[in-house]
């Protein structure tokens, strides 16, 4: 079996030009990519030669002068609500920006696929909500804001956790519940934090008022920062979301509400849960934009527009990103009882955010296929290393069980499971 899989994997990597699959799930993904994306003309191309060493994307085997340093792209116009003008219809992408966006999205993709694998190996437990398919949202938003801005999202949070600066090692190690995790194993998949990144929130919709509150702090402190507050199509029906809309509008808080509409709230398609699926209009008195969430350049440009709106003290704005998740709601959901495999494959073949960017850059001579392959190989290696580390890092010590109950407090006693168990808690 193993040799048959290696044979298939090698064959695919020769034909498609990407680095070989490591796992069955990666293999299946490569197979579907191959089946959907290959056109007759590509099949006749000679397979690219492998780079002798793994180099960073900045060092290409072709001389840099042969590539276009910058290209202007037309963007699909966004639908607008309560706005006279919207995001720009064209955007300029430099080679460097493009490679960076590609690297970010590919890292997110491989991160999630590896998380899938680790979950199936039972080293990741509990809930695991994967973001593959939605990479353009996190990458595009991050590209349009700065680290001093703020981001808060729900539980499908691995993407933003990475883009906000948490290392792959710290992410995987949090998933496997070891001491090197970003939350020392206390939080898990849904509760990872970083400076100006407020998780990772498990209660659907609760993060929306929190995000408005973060924006209140920005306004209060007069620091010109904005808070990107994400929620899904499912959370869009929560009452507290509308309470947050009202107060954000009343007080002109610098919050960008982002609805990541991936068409399904767990197993329920949007048509069955929302009287209005025009999520970008559901802010009622809040201007809205509907954005192609599979196009990272659209997301980036729309976020720039939204951030400008907020920084100009015009109050909140709502961005609906139309996106898609390849996985089910979580690892417990195969994701095929409420949607068809055909639908999933169609999105993969026509709208995959990573392929879209790569094809754009290739057909505009901004980079070579070889470079992309090098990036892929490098990312796979990084992800593999981080995952290996996460499996070998020791578990958190029991002595730390009760730590971090209170902040800035002298050590205290915490009752264990019975009266003779007196545990220690330090801040």
């Amino acid at each position: 079996m193993r040799s048959a899989l290696s044979f298939l994997s090698n064959a695919l990597s020769r034909i498609s030009g990407s680095a070989g699959a490591q796992t069955v799930s990666e293999l299946l993904i490569d197979l579907s990519e191959y089946a959907s994306l290959m056109t007759p003309s590509e099949l006749t191309e000679a397979p690219p030669t492998c780079a002798a060493s793994l180099v960073s994307p900045a060092v290409a085997s072709q001389p840099l002068a042969e590539f276009n340093a910058q290209v202007t792209f037309d963007l699909k116009p966004c639908e607008l609500y309560l706005l006279e003008t919207g995001p720009a219809h064209t955007t300029q992408l430099t080679r460097k920006e493009g490679l960076q966006l590609y690297q970010t999205m590919q890292t997110l993709r491989r991160l999630e696929l590896k998380a899938d694998q680790l979950y199936k190996q039972k080293v990741v437990r509990g809930f695991c909500h994967l973001y593959d398919g939605q990479e353009a949202c996190a990458a595009g938003i991050e590209a349009a804001i700065s680290r001093s801005d703020h981001v808060i999202t729900a539980y499908r949070a691995h993407g933003f956790t990475y883009t906000r600066g948490v290392s792959l090692k710290q992410i995987f190690t949090e998933l496997t519940g070891r001491r090197g995790g970003v939350a020392k194993g206390k939080g898990g998949s849904m509760h990872m934090y970083a400076p100006h990144f407020y998780g990772g929130n498990g209660i659907v919709g609760a993060q929306v008022p929190l995000g408005a509150g973060i924006a209140l702090a920005c306004q209060y402190q007069g620091n010109q920062q904005v808070c990107v507050t994400l929620y899904g199509d499912g959370a869009a029906n929560q009452g507290q979301v509308f309470e947050a809309f009202n107060m954000a509008s009343l007080w002109k808080l610098p919050v960008i509400f982002v609805c990541e509409n991936n068409r399904y709230g767990m197993g329920t398609p949007v048509e069955r849960s929302a009287a209005s699926t025009s999520y970008y209009t559901r802010g009622h008195f809040i201007p809205g934009i509907r954005v192609d969430g599979m196009d990272v350049l659209c997301v980036r440009e729309a976020t720039r527009f939204a951030a400008d709106h907020c920084r100009a003290e015009k109050g909140p704005i709502l961005m609906e990103l139309q996106t898609y998740r390849y996985h089910g709601h979580s690892m417990s959901d195969p994701g095929i009882s409420y949607r068809s495999r055909e639908e999933i494959l169609e999105v993969r073949s026509k709208s995959d955010p990573i392929s879209l960017l790569r094809e754009r850059m290739l057909s505009n001579n901004m980079a070579s296929a070889e470079e992309f392959k090098e990036v892929d190989t490098m990312i796979r290696r990084e992800v593999e290393e981080a995952a290996q580390f996460s499996c070998s890092d020791p578990e958190p010590p029991l002595s730390e069980l009760c730590d971090h109950i209170y902040s800035n407090e002298p050590p205290m006693e915490v009752r264990g499971t019975h009266p003779w168990s007196k545990l220690r808690s330090i801040s």
Partner: protein, 339 residues
């Protein structure tokens, strides 16, 4: 310098004014502190606790919210995560139920879930428990509910000095603090100690106070019922029964040591609270006493005096008989002492 006895200053201060002054001083001291809630600004507060603050500090620091508890509690918590020090007022704690997810899941648990990366320095305050004639939906005591949860501090002042010192401590605390006031106490004046005049006067959270020394029985209470215990103690003293009255001041973390020390002296314990009996503050005290050294000093089982196990009725005679009265405390003490 800490004083063991209180020096009476010339003017008595109501609990309302003590709370007002505490907030005023903390708003002045730290720019990050602000107050938000329904009617707190232009109305001067539903119960006038925030009177004058909006006039002094303006819209930025004193914020009127729409009637959106879940929303504004979440906004308050978010602002605390991003560096401010909000005081989030619930008009009464009954309405906090609408926002309880934000208090527990967003505020209380976050420091632990993030392994210390994200703290939430917030105070949730407002009147708690029975009022007068406001019926079932407006009379619930939430001490037990909030005190159940790790990550929260739960404070319940009785008199003006408590209100002042504990509110200042709560605002300066880097953790989420649930501050349970009592509407019936707002207008009650108390003499204040000299020491409490200081702008840095804080009462440590987690420390109970022995309001009255005694030898025969320990009475433990919080909030308004501390007064009832002292009144009962005065009556019982005439019959030669000396009660030690402990004012919990903090429900969580509870000062068990003070209770145990007292019980080891008096050998008898009666708890008094306004909330319902099941799974309540008194129930927790009983459990804690049984698990510790004081159990062996008890000459009788602990007695709990609590609110009646019913939703609060409206008619005065019914309401009066739904909460502990002084005669109930006296009766319970005598039963416990078997006299």
């Amino acid at each position: 310098v800490a004083l063991w006895y209180t020096i009476k200053s010339s003017e008595a201060v109501t609990v309302r004014d003590a709370l007002n002054q505490a907030m005023d001083e903390e708003l002045e001291r730290d720019e990050r502190v602000f107050l938000m809630g329904e009617e707190v600004a232009q109305y001067d507060g539903a119960y006038k606790v925030s009177r004058g603050l909006w006039k002094k500090y303006g819209d930025k620091r004193i914020i009127d919210t729409p009637i959106s508890e879940m929303g504004f509690a979440g906004i308050a918590v978010g602002s605390a995560m991003a560096g401010l020090r909000p005081i989030c007022e619930f008009m009464t704690f009954n309405f906090s139920m609408q926002a309880i997810d934000q208090v527990i899941n967003s505020a209380a648990k976050t420091y632990y879930m993030s392994a210390g990366l994200q703290s939430v320095p917030i105070v949730f305050r407002g009147p708690n428990g029975a009022s007068a004639g406001v019926a079932a939906q407006h009379s619930q005591c939430f001490a037990a509910w909030y005190a159940h949860c790790p990550g929260l501090k739960v404070v319940s002042p009785w008199n003006s000095e408590d209100a002042r010192g504990l509110l200042k401590a709560a605002i300066r605390d880097d953790n989420p603090v649930v501050f349970l006031e009592n509407e019936l106490m707002y207008g009650v004046p108390f003499e204040m100690s000299e020491e409490s005049n200081s702008k840095d006067f804080v009462i440590p959270i987690g420390k109970a106070k022995i309001e009255r020394q005694g030898t025969h029985v320990t009475l433990v209470s919080h909030s308004r019922y501390v007064g009832h215990c002292l009144d009962a103690a005065a009556v019982l003293a005439k019959e030669g029964i000396e009660c030690e009255v402990i004012n919990l001041r903090t429900i969580r973390p509870m000062d068990v040591d003070t209770i145990e020390g007292s019980v080891m002296k008096t050998n008898h314990l009666v708890t008094v609270e306004g909330g319902w009996p099941q799974f309540g503050v008194g129930a927790e005290i009983c459990a804690k006493i049984m698990e510790g050294p004081a159990f062996n000093y008890l000459d009788a089982p602990v007695t709990r005096v609590t609110g009646v196990d019913i939703p609060m009725p409206y008619a005065k005679i019914l309401e009066d008989n739904s909460v502990p009265q002084i005669k109930d405390i006296i009766f319970s003490v005598k039963k416990t002492l078997n006299v």
